[in-house]
């Protein structure tokens, strides 16, 4: 029995929305990173589901791209986070309010 594609769409939409809500409402920078990863992985799941549903390998190759790029992005992001921690001794994003106008 095949699981209908709609189920995958709903599942990844829910995962993606959890990620979006986390980015918007959490204050801890590391949790926000994790939420961004959740968004990207929701996309990965959806891509793989579509790819197998459509019998087309392009989607799965795209998932590899997303994984590799997400790894690079997080490496840079964590480096920036460490830099911020050294300057402010905090990873709460509420302190990021010096630039205002």
């Amino acid at each position: 029995m095949k699981i209908p594609i709609e189920f995958y769409i709903w599942l990844s939409t829910v995962l993606f929305s959890i990620g979006v809500l986390g980015v918007m409402f959490r204050r801890n920078a590391i949790i926000i990173f994790a939420c961004i990863e959740l968004m990207l992985n929701a996309v990965n799941l959806l891509m793989v589901a579509f790819s197998s549903y459509l019998n087309d390998a392009h989607g799965q190759v795209f998932v590899f791209f997303i994984m590799a790029v997400a790894a690079a992005e997080v490496a840079v992001g964590l480096a920036i986070l460490v830099m911020m921690y050294r300057n402010t001794k905090s990873i709460d994003i509420n302190i990021l309010n010096r630039l205002k106008g």
Binding site: S12, V43, Y53, L54, H58, A72, V76, L96, L99
Partner: protein, 455 residues
């Protein structure tokens, strides 16, 4: 395509230069390489060529926009010579800049969503690092962090959109997607296809910083080192808007007029919010950030009045905008270096002490405001004639009113420069030459708009 190889090659060379102790050659090689890439663009001009099974296409659109990116990059290197002067991370910075330019060219020449995604990421990841390159400065760190958060958030939306479009059409290829839309009636396409298009638009709206997805732009522009701000407001803007045009006017626009309505909503918000907020700014860098958000509104107006054939007007507008923007940031860079920050009071007395700097800044701001005979005027003129010709009277009226508001805030620094002030600023000979050349370029493009329209 060769231009892209050259740019990537210089990036790799810059990385290796650190190892093989070739640091003093990096600057010369970068400038020669940029010129070589430009020559390749010109020599490939005639042909439309596809590479890698049609994933990358160099057509007129891609070449014209990449050529603009390369020319602006050349001026950018000139204006930011001292950004590479410090002993620390010189080669890394220049490597990152070249990878960012390579990403920009990929964003302008993609024919496949995968290349779009890779281009955006190569550009953005390099810029996250560059925005934070002033490590001890808290503002720079904060700018890098905000840029990173907003950038990767936007990437998530873009990717979800791409995934949904892929699910509906079964392909990542732009041309196949538009063929698919044209061969199927809209009612037969699944509903999530529309949501996919919408999410792609949101993701790219973050990148071009259209209101209401612009909140990161002023903070990041203000906090980053000024050369990087100049890079973001010229090269990144050209690349992001080029990508926006390519994906929407080549394929997704066929699908649903609702996408265009949403785009028009973004445009109206961008025009009004950005131009009104800019009035209240006291820091010139931040004001220019809002102005660069506001300029996106005019580009979107051109796109919404004729989504298929507006790239000529948009290209001219971008040329005018980029030239004026790089000139104004060169001046801000000089002033900021001399006085510590770019507050509007630091511009007092410049006309008297440094007439060339004053004239350069005046010309840049007048061009951004759209005063004839400068380039910005003809950019706005082309956009407005296009939108009136297509019957978008109400929107054009809004755009004209907001550009009048623009004149008000662009005049604030000019008035400050005429007021009495104290010490003069030292400007090196090469900076003077750069300012002169950019002033001439702004005037030339404005007085002879046919130069660009021939393209």
């Amino acid at each position: 395509m060769n231009a892209l190889f050259v740019i990537c090659g210089i990036g790799v060379f810059s990385l290796l230069a650190e190892v093989f102790n070739l640091k003093k050659w990096v600057q010369a090689v970068s400038l020669v390489g940029l010129l070589a890439a430009l020559v390749f663009i010109v020599s490939d001009w005639k042909a439309i060529s596809y590479y890698y099974q049609g994933m990358v296409v160099f057509d007129r659109f891609a070449m014209a926009f990449s050529g603009l990116v390369l020319i602006i990059a050349f001026f950018w290197f000139w204006m930011s010579i001292d950004f590479f002067k410090g002993e620390a991370h010189r080669t890394d910075k220049s490597a990152l800049v070249f990878f960012a330019i390579a990403g920009a060219i990929m964003m302008l020449s993609f024919n496949n969503m995968a290349v779009l995604f890779l281009g955006i990421e190569i550009l953005s990841i390099s810029l996250y690092v560059l925005a934070g390159s002033n490590k001890e400065n808290l503002f720079s760190t904060e700018a890098a962090f905000k840029y990173f958060l907003m950038g990767s958030f936007a990437t998530g939306f873009l990717l979800f959109g791409i995934a949904l479009v892929y699910g509906a059409t079964g392909t990542f290829d732009i041309t196949s997607i538009s063929d698919f839309i044209l061969s199927n009636p809209p009612t037969k396409l699944p509903r999530f296809f529309f949501i996919g298009g919408l999410l792609i638009m949101i993701g790219l709206a973050f990148k071009i910083s259209a209101v209401p997805f612009h909140m990161w732009a002023p903070d990041v522009y203000e906090g980053s080192p000024t050369p990087i701000t100049a890079f973001m407001s010229t090269i990144v803007k050209i690349a992001a808007f080029g990508a926006f045009l390519r994906i929407f006017s080549f394929s997704l626009v066929y699908f649903s007029p609702a996408l265009l309505w949403i785009e028009q909503g973004l445009m109206l918000l961008t025009l009004i919010v950005a131009n009104v907020t800019a009035v209240y700014q006291t820091n010139v860098k931040r004001m220019l950030a809002y102005s660069s958000v506001g300029q996106v509104g005019y580009l979107l107006l051109a796109f919404s009045s004729d989504s298929r054939h507006s790239s000529g007007a948009i290209f001219y507008y971008l040329v005018a905008y980029a030239l004026a923007s790089i000139l104004s940031f060169s001046v801000v860079h000089i002033v900021e270096k001399a006085k510590g920050n770019a507050g509007i009071d630091n511009f007092k007395g410049i006309f008297k002490s440094n007439p060339l700097v004053g004239v350069a800044f005046t010309i840049a701001l007048l061009s951004l405001a759209g005063i004839p005979p400068l380039a910005g005027f003809f950019g706005k003129y082309l956009v407005f004639t296009l939108s009136i010709g297509k019957g978008f009277i109400g929107m054009t009226v809004v755009a004209v009113i907001t550009s009048l508001i623009g004149v008000y805030y662009y005049f604030k620094p000019i008035i400050a420069m005429t007021q009495p002030g104290e010490d003069s600023i030292s400007v090196s000979a090469s900076q003077k030459l750069l300012l002169l050349i950019l002033i001439l370029a702004n005037l030339l493009v404005g007085i002879f708009p046919e130069l660009i329209r021939l393209v």
